[in-house]
Symmetry: C2
Subunit: 372 residues, 2 copies
């Protein structure tokens, strides 16, 4: 008796995963991390109102969540000044990216992204048989002209751009993205991943009509709203495109508790302001900790900071591993030359204290391997 | 400017959805349902321990959930006497069915199910370009021999069987399923949907080795565990098959709060026993309410009861609509001859009181349309 064979596309996929989760790393380490600074989670936490709403909803979890996330969609539409038909709520940007790739990409279709950008997007493209083409970063930022050139050259159906960017923290002016949209090939859709938009300066957010059929924007409650574990993201786009999700999505897939939490979080503007202030302060402090250790902080419009080791990927990987051994979870870009950096998420002071104490030790260990 | 076109498979899909959610129906009705008896939710609710665990976890929702649901998988493996490699946790059986279809089905591949069985499975098969072949029910139960015959005739790669069955509540003896497995064509996988297994008599659960590569079983926390809104299901199967999910699943897709709730729910055996007792009592009461109104209850091994109107689908549809107008949410099978029945979920006494009061009125209205 053999296991029935997989369909051709999954049969050809590698068994690798985009990221190893921090819990898995902790189990290998044998103890909890003292500082969880690797997944761009928001350790300042969700709005207390969101926590309260989720606690209140827990007893109602015997009911399926609303299959159209009506209240949340209404609230988002009101906030964004669009109609509910312009919005699709989904299980985080990760879930929405998977659905969007499935909606747009047939096997063999070309897709463009930056070399070193979000691996989970690449995972979904491969997962549906798309063919990835990668443009290099330019000065540690995604390069709209290079992405455009590649899209024209390959006949791409999707172009992925994160602004602000992950993993570098850099950002493009909104105007540069608007110009890029104007130059997109026909029948090519720009995925503008704005997971970190709430941390960015206003001029980093382009003015694009939600009725523009060439762009779909992705936002999330995982970052500024501090609800990564709840799995709530949303897409903003042309209603005909948004309606496409209903053909393929898991209609009852949204957790009921998460919906309630996101709705409450959206209503707490004071908490969002507090998060922005706390994150900016943490960003500065990570910069100072880096500087004290000879690592330059790249400018960041996000809730993380790329610290430049001024060495290569092998060195940065050793540094990540050394920090992990010390109980500090950080990550790093996967591709040269970005991978000379390590990426550190903003967090409350006690965790950054641990970083400040640990980073010199980890670096010393790399420079003097015999050091205890 | 046009919206970029969809890929061929989604472009050909209808814009329909498997189910209209009760919240949508309530918004149409203009008020909340007085009795929510349509989605086979478990109104007796989750274990208080699960609620407590979810409330405690809410403050930690800034962290992504464990991407491998380690603790929950360990607990399930221990409970089931299998290894963790035999189990895949996912976003409800709905989510797992979608992934499994994607893993196994290339466009044009044959898939077998029963005519009138779970629509969401059919939705996923269509969504990946599979070709559905449907065997009729026999005496209001799924018919293993008819499914087998059809699988052999069509060269099916997947056969779907729910035991106990939804929407009829009927069940097959475990031995009948074991015999069916022995006769499956090579390279054909049986999906055994056991969403309602915890409500069924022991003899309805087949003895199938988790190492048998011809079967994958699906279980859920949505029904007996009362956590439909949390979106936690699991598949049990051969480790090579289970490992396939890692190639395509949304690795960080599991809600952190839901994972904590499921783990706690699994540990509360007393609550599960209480749910079984309460559900059996509610099943009996729905049968009595049916009998008082001339509607025969079909035997059920689930947390719902099919009441036979002894009329046709048009009549049953009118009855469902009349109940809805009265504030009672029920559903019904979608296909003749099953659609002569209405399907009523078990629930606490106050909601069944509403049913007892409302059903005669709804029936009277159908029999005498001028009745106020």
């Amino acid at each position: 008796m053999k296991t029935p064979r997989f369909a051709p596309i999954p049969a050809a996929l590698p068994a690798t995963v985009p990221f190893t989760g921090p819990e898995t790393l902790q189990r290998r380490l044998g103890r909890p991390f003292a500082a969880r600074l690797g997944a761009n989670e928001n350790g300042f936490g969700p709005s207390p109102r969101a926590v309260e709403a989720m606690r209140a909803e827990a007893g109602l979890v015997w009911q399926y969540g609303d299959s159209v996330s009506f209240d949340l969609v209404q609230a988002l539409a009101g906030r964004l000044g669009v109609t509910p038909g312009h919005i699709q709520v989904g299980e985080g940007i990760d879930g929405l990216l998977g659905l969007l790739v499935r909606l747009m990409i047939a096997p063999g279709d070309a897709v463009v992204t930056s070399d070193g950008a979000y691996p989970t997007f690449n995972y979904h493209v491969a997962g549906f048989g798309g063919v990835l083409h990668k443009a290099p970063y330019r000065d540690d930022a995604e390069d709209p002209q290079a992405l455009l050139d590649l899209a024209w050259r390959t006949g791409a159906r999707l172009v992925y751009l994160a602004n602000p960017d992950n993993p570098m923290g850099s950002w493009l002016a909104g105007g540069a993205i608007e110009e890029m949209v104007a130059m997109l090939p026909e029948d090519c859709l720009l995925i503008l991943d704005e997971a970190y938009a709430e941390f960015a300066p206003a001029e980093a957010v382009p003015q694009i009509s939600a009725d523009d059929p060439r762009v779909i924007r992705m936002r999330t409650f995982s970052k500024a709203y501090g609800m990564a574990g709840a799995r709530v993201g949303y897409a903003i786009g042309h209603p005909e495109l948004i309606a496409g999700f209903d053909r393929i999505r898991n209609h009852f897939g949204m957790c009921r508790i998460s919906q309630a939490g996101a709705l409450a979080a959206l209503g707490d503007e004071d908490w969002l302001a507090h998060i922005r202030t706390s994150t900016a302060a943490a960003r500065d402090r990570i910069g100072r900790i880096g500087a004290e250790n000879g690592l330059r902080a790249l400018p960041s419009a996000t809730n993380f900071v790329a610290l430049d080791t001024a060495r290569d990927g092998a060195f940065a990987r050793q540094l990540v591993a050394a920090l992990e051994t010390e109980g500090v979870f950080v990550r790093m870009p996967g591709v040269a030359p970005l991978d000379r950096c390590i990426r550190i998420s903003c967090a409350p002071a006690p965790e950054l204290d641990v970083l400040a104490e640990t980073l010199p030790r980890a670096l010393a260990r790399l420079r003097h391997p015999s050091h205890p």
